[in-house]
């Protein structure tokens, strides 16, 4: 709302020639952009590829990805929000450890995550045995897809929500309570609206990560069309026999990723942390 014009400044900083900087920057940008350009060069003029958009292979993957990622986001928000608030507001023993544990999936290779989940929920896994005895099988079902996605994607939301909650002055919550509103109402009337940009940003990132999930899913859920074959898995499977389908699905993912990134950046700008959004204390 109150975007401020920042005058361009050219301070002398680096001791070496600027040509070198520009050249290396250009090389990196080119390297990052070129594969995406290559993909679209291949797919845009390819009428055959676009006709596969109605193929069951493609539509099944799209539908499955939409459903599973939606459930993943729902589960993440319901279970992640209290943890994020706890980490933001309370100082307790083991907070640092809890924080690290929650971040673990961010650095864990997805294939490792897949195996770990298999040994947890699989037929002979830690929890899988008792679950199996109850007549339920988790591995290689749609449930497994969601489990894999939550495992790798939830930390993005928890991190974002935590920093969002931290940016809300606890004094606002205290005053809300002295005005007669209990903790839960205070949370929904004060904390959530003020942390909303960060929460939405976390949701978008979680959704994007879940949408692209491949490694853990293929290890833990397998690749069954219509059941566990999400978009990334479908791309991988189509690569051998149906290149057109793979191209279209890839293009869809690129487009979605780009939009997600734009939304995310827009939300970051509106976050209460940024000066443009205006704090409560500036006089």
């Amino acid at each position: 709302m109150m975007a401020r014009a920042v005058p361009m400044r050219a301070l002398r900083t680096a001791p070496f020639g600027s040509a070198l900087i520009w050249a290396s920057a250009a090389a990196l940008v080119l390297f990052l952009v070129l594969p995406i350009v290559a993909l679209f060069v291949e797919v845009v003029p390819n009428g055959g590829a676009w006709s596969t958009i109605n193929d069951p292979v493609v539509t099944d993957a799209l539908r499955l990805s939409l459903i599973t990622t939606a459930i993943t986001v729902g589960i993440t928000v319901v279970f992640g929000t209290p943890v994020a608030y706890l980490l933001a507001r309370r100082q307790f023993r083991g907070a640092g450890l809890l924080d690290t544990l929650i971040d673990m999936p961010l650095v864990l290779p997805p294939a490792v995550a897949g195996i770990a989940l298999l040994f947890t929920f699989g037929r002979s896994g830690l929890l899988g045995g008792p679950i199996e005895d109850a007549g339920v099988s988790v591995a290689f079902t749609t449930v497994a897809v969601v489990i894999a996605q939550v495992f790798v994607a939830a930390p993005f939301y928890v991190r974002a929500a935590r920093s969002g909650f931290e940016s809300v002055d606890p004094e606002l919550e205290r005053v809300s309570m002295t005005l007669g509103e209990g903790e839960l109402r205070t949370f929904f009337r004060i904390t959530v609206p003020l942390a909303a940009p960060a929460l939405l940003g976390g949701i978008v990132m979680t959704w994007a990560r879940a949408l692209g999930e491949f490694g853990a899913t293929i290890m833990f859920a397998g690749s069954l069309r219509g059941v566990t074959e999400t978009i990334p898995l479908s791309i991988y499977n189509s690569l051998q026999d149906d290149l057109d389908a793979a191209l279209v699905l890839s293009a869809v993912l690129v487009a979605v990723s780009f939009v997600v990134l734009l939304i995310f950046k827009a939300l970051l700008r509106r976050s209460p942390l940024s000066p443009a959004a205006g704090g409560n204390r500036d006089v």
Binding site: E171, L172, R174, M177, T178, L179, E181, G182, N280, D282
Partner: protein, 393 residues
């Protein structure tokens, strides 16, 4: 409206490196909790508001004989802040940045219908002179306007007690004076008892019915303005409220031939000063006991050149005599500080190694008395304005 007692507070709180044990009552008045930063003022307010949980003691509201225990560590009572109905305005004001002025003000009125809320908002907006600002966001307001929104929001829920934490520190002089007036007006019109925290002596003086001086987590003195500023109970209180002259002395004698009740002669350096205190608060007045004397910088009387100077710096001589001049001292100005309409001087008593006296005198008097022409002159420390205090332990 309230009668004599509104709140009885006994707040005990132990934090690493700090302990608070504050006991005081708030009546139907504006009580100022005065103390330096880090003295435990804010913590006390938070405990009363219920947003911080004390480790011991009790907090009891007593409005018109209707007693409510808010906190009692022995009985295990701790009423939640949302059930206390105590207005709390923190130093940061904590206006809700995502809500408009009107939404901020009616925040605590969720239970009421929309039209009732609208009515309440209209009333409070008018009361606080905010009527044209109802749709603004807090960041679009000036400091004084924000302050008034915070007050209106706290008043909306009809609190039984209003707590204000350093409310005016961020404001410029004129706005601050206007808002002090506003707080007095709200207190008088609505009859709501106010407990206000400040470290500003002017603010304490301008607002308070009574002042509680707090230091290092302890209440040192509770009294009206005159009691605290002119008759501080101890050297520490005098230092905190900014009494300019604190003179260390030793009791020489109590009473003297033909003296009035309460006359005490104190040795201050090589000089003897007569002190007339009908109701001394210092317990130990045996000769040889150490005491401190308090005297405001504007309470020193400068004598005209024509005035008779009969005292020879031996206070006992003219002690009781009507019109007699006790405590007359020859001084020399060591340092002069000119303000727009007052002049502050450091005066060195002649022929003695005593510490300088701080004098504050209106500029017109300074020139009328010809102090700009006189290198040396006489001042009188009037016996009835000198105040005896206990030396700090």
């Amino acid at each position: 409206m309230c009668d004599d007692t509104a709140l009885r507070a006994d707040v005990v709180r132990t934090l690493p490196g700090f302990s608070l044990a504050a006991q005081f009552d708030v009546g139907c008045e504006v009580l100022v909790l005065f103390g330096p930063s880090g003295s435990g003022k804010s913590l006390t307010l938070q405990a009363i508001a219920g947003v911080d949980r004390p480790d011991g003691g009790s907090i009891v509201l007593d409005i018109d004989g209707d007693e409510t225990v808010l906190f009692d560590s022995a009985a295990g009572i701790d009423v939640k802040p949302q059930q206390r109905r105590i207005g709390y305005v923190p130093q940061s004001l904590a206006l809700f940045p995502h809500l408009t002025v009107q939404e901020n003000i009616t925040y605590g009125l969720r239970g009421q219908s929309k039209s009732e809320r609208g009515e309440a908002a209209k009333r409070l907006l008018a009361l606080m002179r905010l009527s044209d600002l109802q749709d603004r966001l807090p960041r679009q307001l000036s400091g004084g306007q924000r302050q008034r929104v915070a007050l209106a929001r706290a008043l909306a829920v009809e609190p039984r007690l209003l707590l204000l934490d350093e409310p005016f520190t961020a404001l410029d002089g004129p706005t601050r004076r206007a808002l002090r007036h506003e707080v007095r007006r709200l207190h008088e019109e609505r009859g709501v008892p106010v407990l206000l925290v400040t470290h500003d002596t002017d603010e304490a003086f301008a607002l308070a019915d009574r002042i509680a001086v707090i230091d290092a987590g302890r209440v040192l003195q509770i009294a009206d303005r005159d009691g605290v500023f002119s008759r501080p109970v101890s050297r520490r209180v005098a230092e905190l409220v900014g009494v300019e002259n604190i003179l260390p002395g030793v009791v020489r004698s109590v009473g003297s031939p033909g003296s009035s009740a309460g006359d005490v002669v104190i040795n201050w350096g090589e000089m003897a000063l007569l002190v007339r205190e009908p109701r001394p608060t210092v317990a130990d007045l045996t000769p040889g006991a150490r005491v401190d004397l308090a005297l405001g910088a504007s309470q020193i009387t400068v004598l005209k050149e024509s005035d008779p100077v009969s005292s020879d710096s031996d206070g006992s001589e003219n002690a009781g005599g009507e019109g007699g001049r006790a405590n007359v001292i020859a001084v020399r100005a060591a340092r002069i500080e000119m303000a727009r309409d007052t002049i502050r001087m450091d005066l060195l008593p002649q022929g003695s190694a005593a510490t300088p006296l701080r004098l504050e005198i209106p500029a017109y008097a300074y020139y009328r008395l010809g102090l700009d022409q006189r290198e040396q002159f006489h001042v009188q420390l009037k016996p009835e304005w000198l105040h005896l205090m206990a030396t700090n332990p």
